[in-house]
Amino acid sequence: MYNINFDVIAQAAPQLIQGIKTTIFISVISSVCAFIIGLVIVFMRTMGGSLLKAIGAIYVEIIRNTPMLIQLYFVYKALPDLGLFLHPIACGIIALSLYTGAYISEVLRSGVNSVTSQQYEAARGLGLNKWQTFRLIIFPQAIRIVIPPLGSQFINLVKNSSLVSFIAVTDLFYFIYKGAVDDFRFFEFFIAGAFVYMTLTGIIAVIFNRIEKMFKLHGREARV
């Protein structure tokens, strides 16, 4: 009979905490980059000319239709062939940002498309240029609609960040797997790992609930 013993987790705690730090570091930076990429792509696809639109669409389709693992290995293994050597963590961040950015741009695009064309015309009539229209009129309305699905994308990002352990980044998953293999304690380590990931994503869910309430229009104080 297999003896479940969670003490092994306590012994591996210092390593795991180091892994959590790396995972958080990668996730936070990738989140910011992914959101910026998503914004740029959605601006290109909704306000840009036909060339920018095409570039945005091609980018999104390439990223969406290829496995993330290939993208990750491409950045890690194929870019050096072209003479670009990057730290594994940097590779992980780039791949994660590109991957999630594509999804975020799609989420944002659905929000932008839900803003009626009259809002664009009203803005144009008041003398706004494209960038002002997007920044001041379209985006603030679109973002409110897509906050919940946007939260899911960031949660996915944290979970997908476990893939970076494949390119020798010592993140949370790396230490979980290492600990499990070293001690032959798969059950304990994977349960503990799942629990930690759930805590991290749970924090994101709470943050997004807050943001959703913050952005809610009803009962907002007047700015006169």
Binding site: Q119, E121, G127, P140, R144, L217, R220, A222, R223
Partner: protein, 386 residues
């Protein structure tokens, strides 16, 4: 500011929405574009605003005070546009909505914060919404929203105010109220204004001048009085209120026969005519001396509730005839259900019957070869060569 349109056409895919429009909007006047849906009135307004571009033609021009603005974008034309569905910025308060056009100006032209605040509140007082400056558009009623939209359009001090069915989505009572209010506002501000409507009553009540449109063409331009009392075409007559239509023909004695109605007139080119009579232009007579210019009809339905008495008559040819009588006249000639009386048209309009019903059907679809056919021809050409 005077606005002049020269040879403006607009084609959507293969649909001709506007067909060579030439118009002049006078300075400081409130002009109504009136027409049924699909007549091109909104398209015309959007072209004036610059939200839509007219078809590229050498001689098509839009002039503001004699200056060609055809290639200017909306922002440069200094027009205030009020949309049918308000198009308020939902994430901004009433104050922010109105202030928006001022806040986004380039820093050289932008008034100071205090000036913006004062100007916005002056506008809000004008539209009677200064107590609701902090509310969001979703917390306002339809009429209030439309007034915010108007204040927002006025905030940038436009030289032209364009309103696209401004009261279209409001209920009748609020509509009538806003209508009067708009007229008063215009009398105070004297901004050249154009407003689109399909409601003839609204156009007649509010505007200085009415442009009646139908199927992408202008039917008549005139004051409300002119278009109502001297309609240039049969369409204008039919569109502006109820009409009774009598099909008839003119004989050698220049009398018009239409069923049992014979009527003296002095037109004698085309024997087939239509006689159009408004419901309030009938005299109801209980007896007559000679039977000229009158016909008999039976009262079928009588509605006495309202500002005037509405009576539906049915004549011997089974045509339904609408008659509006003042309560005074109704008391003089009391008609009961089933009574047979004489009807005498006081005023009427005569229109020639068209030979064929060409205009009745929409012939504005321009035929163009399909893309697929074009590509097919292209491929065949190359196959033959090789």
């Amino acid at each position: 500011m005077t606005i002049t349109l020269e040879n403006i056409s607009k084609t959507f895919n293969n649909f001709k929405a506007l067909d060579n429009i030439n118009l002049n909007f006078e300075d400081g006047k409130l002009t109504a574009l009136l027409g049924p849906s699909g007549s091109g009135k909104t398209t015309l307004l959007r072209i004036v605003a610059g939200l839509e571009l007219p078809d590229q033609k050498e001689n098509s021009k839009i002039l503001f005070n004699g200056i060609n603005v055809t290639d200017n974008a909306v922002g440069k034309r200094q027009v205030g546009f009020v949309f049918q569905h308000y198009a308020l910025f939902r994430h901004l308060s009433v104050f922010e909505n109105v202030a928006f056009g001022l806040k986004v100006k380039k820093s050289i032209d932008r008034p100071s914060k205090q000036e913006i605040h004062d100007q916005v509140f002056e506008l809000l007082r004008m539209v009677q919404l200064d107590t609701m400056a902090h509310r969001l558009p979703s917390q306002l009623s339809g009429g209030q929203r439309q007034r915010v939209a108007l204040a927002r359009a006025l905030a940038i001090k436009p030289k032209v105010l364009l309103l696209d069915e401004p009261f279209g989505s409001l209920d009748a009572k609020v509509r009538a109220e806003l209508r009067r209010w708009l007229r008063k506002l215009h009398d105070d501000l004297h901004i050249t204004s154009i407003f689109v409507t399909h409601d003839q009553e609204e156009a007649l009540e509010v505007s200085d001048k009415i442009i009646v449109m139908n199927q992408g063409c202008i039917e008549q331009v005139g004051t409300p009085n002119e278009v109502f009392h001297k309609p240039a075409t049969e369409f204008v007559m039919q569109f502006l209120g109820d009409v009774n239509v009598f099909h008839g023909r003119i004989d050698e004695n220049q009398a018009i026969y239409s069923g049992n109605l014979n009527y003296i007139n002095n037109i004698s080119e085309n024997p087939n005519v239509k006689l159009l009579v408004r419901p309030h232009d009938f005299d109801v007579l209980l007896k007559v001396e000679n039977e000229k210019n009158v016909f008999t009809a039976k009262a079928h339905r009588i509605l006495t509730a309202g500002a005037f008495v509405k009576i539906e008559f049915i004549d011997k040819l089974n045509r339904l005839i609408l008659v509006h009588l003042s309560h005074d006249n109704y008391r003089k000639t009391p008609v009961n259900h089933g009574d047979e009386v004489f009807l005498c048209p006081r005023e009427h309009q005569l229109y020639k019957n068209k030979e064929k019903k060409v205009k009745e059907q929409d012939n504005r679809f321009v035929k163009r070869p399909k893309k697929r056919t074009l590509i097919k021809n292209f491929i065949f050409k190359y196959l033959k060569k090789s």
